[in-house]
């Protein structure tokens, strides 16, 4: 299906890449269907684009990219709500806020978006961990990991594209630096 977006123009989205938020996202409860766009701008930032509202998209990133020790503990009821047994088949993203002064950008580590890669069901889950911040400043850390990421030749072809691409969760896992398997187990 074709979806018109304000930021990326018209995108062709495969039904299997559509992610469903049954409860919506806090503040956007009426929007249920999204997909992930890689804008190809070499920032490792992806976009969670709404299917129903072309102008609504959230910049997202895998928190492990700038915070290697980010771990989340989900309650059994939270795992159940996504029909997950653990996080090994899930994608975890933090929603980013990017103000005009980009150096003050922040990531919401308190309420990550968790996607079941098999069912494509997702939720923004508010974690109980009181140390996690809604506005975690991370510009410097992201910059550090991008500089080191770009010096890794094996992944350069992946990030050098300039056209927006719709990603399935399977392809996304390839983007993660380091060994994905290890990361997921820590989660």
């Amino acid at each position: 299906m074709k979806i018109n977006t304000t930021r990326f123009g018209e995108l062709e989205v495969d039904k299997k890449d559509i992610i469903t938020f049954d409860e919506g996202i806090l503040g956007f409860e009426n929007l249920r269907e999204f997909f992930v766009v890689d804008p190809g701008d070499q920032t490792l930032i992806l976009w969670l684009q709404s299917c129903e509202s072309g102008e609504t998209a959230f910049p997202i990133i895998e928190p492990k990219i700038f915070k290697a020790d980010y771990t989340i503990n989900l309650l059994p009821s939270e795992l159940n709500s996504l029909t997950l047994e653990n996080l090994s088949n899930a994608s975890v993203y933090a929603i980013l806020t990017i103000p005009q002064d980009v150096t003050t950008m922040s990531a919401n580590l308190k309420a990550p978006v968790i996607i079941n890669n098999a069912t494509k069901k997702a939720r923004q889950i508010v974690l109980q961990d009181s140390k996690l911040e809604v506005k975690h400043q991370m510009y410097a850390d992201l910059k550090k990991s991008i500089v080191s990421y770009h010096s890794d030749d094996s992944v350069r072809t992946r990030v050098s594209q300039t056209q927006p691409t719709v990603l399935s969760q399977e392809t996304i896992t390839e983007v993660t630096p380091n060994t994905q398997k290890e990361n997921l187990q820590e989660l």
């Binding site: 806090l26 503040g27 804008p39 070499q42 929603i95 980013l96 980009v102 919401n108 508010v126 809604v134």
Partner: protein, 77 residues
């Protein structure tokens, strides 16, 4: 909304397994103790409000600030 009056030390039971106790009353502040099963999610309402506001802010990111960000991040200085 159900409204109940409680004195210091008194409590409210919700279902069979959640108990809310008035632990302290000091001026305009009330301290509540909450006994609930581990899997119960308990947050101050402000946390939800903060996440709500943050989501709204996040959705306003425009491609221009993103290209500024891309430039700033690639700048090795």
């Amino acid at each position: 909304m159900l409204v109940l009056t409680r004195k210091l030390g008194e409590s409210i039971a919700i279902d069979d397994n959640i108990k809310i106790v008035v632990v302290q009353i000091k001026g305009k502040q009330v301290r509540l103790g909450i006994k609930a099963p581990k899997e119960t999610k308990i947050h101050r309402e402000e946390v939800y409000q903060a996440i709500h506001d943050q989501n709204i802010e996040a959705s306003k990111a425009d491609p221009n600030s993103l290209s500024d960000l891309a430039d700033a991040l690639r700048d090795k200085k």
